[in-house]
Symmetry: C2
């Protein structure tokens, strides 16, 4: 359904969540990171990362996976309410 890994010049793996928002899997200092981040195109036409984003350790990612159902439930609760 449109999910497609791509690679940066540094051989990092990323997938577009939507325009200019990526999930990137890479390693830094021998630690794997899952980065969820916004990008922009600079004047030279190069796509660059912005400060809007967060790097997750695999254990953080696992936290999201393990609790995805409960988080989705809470999102639906907020969507249904007049909050």
């Amino acid at each position: 359904t449109g999910f497609k890994w791509q690679q940066t010049e540094d051989n990092e793996d990323y997938v577009d969540m939507r325009d200019m928002r990526r999930v990137t899997v890479r390693s830094f200092k021998k630690k794997v990171l899952i980065d969820i981040r916004d990008y922009y195109t600079d004047k030279a036409g190069e796509v660059k990362p912005t400060r809007k984003g967060i790097s997750l350790r695999p254990s953080d990612w696992q936290f999201l996976v393990d609790n995805a159902e409960e988080i989705s439930r809470k999102v639906k609760e907020w969507e249904a309410s007049e909050k």
Copy 2:
């Protein structure tokens, strides 16, 4: 398994992923957001958000949920390699 929703003074729902890193569900301009962000304690002892984080729309969150297995597979691939 330690998962526990808590509430801010503004009635936002959050859960600690780990020390000073939260998932928060809240609404902003009538749009629900899932915020994954680092926090810090200021000199007054108050817990405040940092710039390290990202606000996801429900559709972004759903993208992560829908593709969690594939992203986890890629993480394991990186962990297994010498990248």
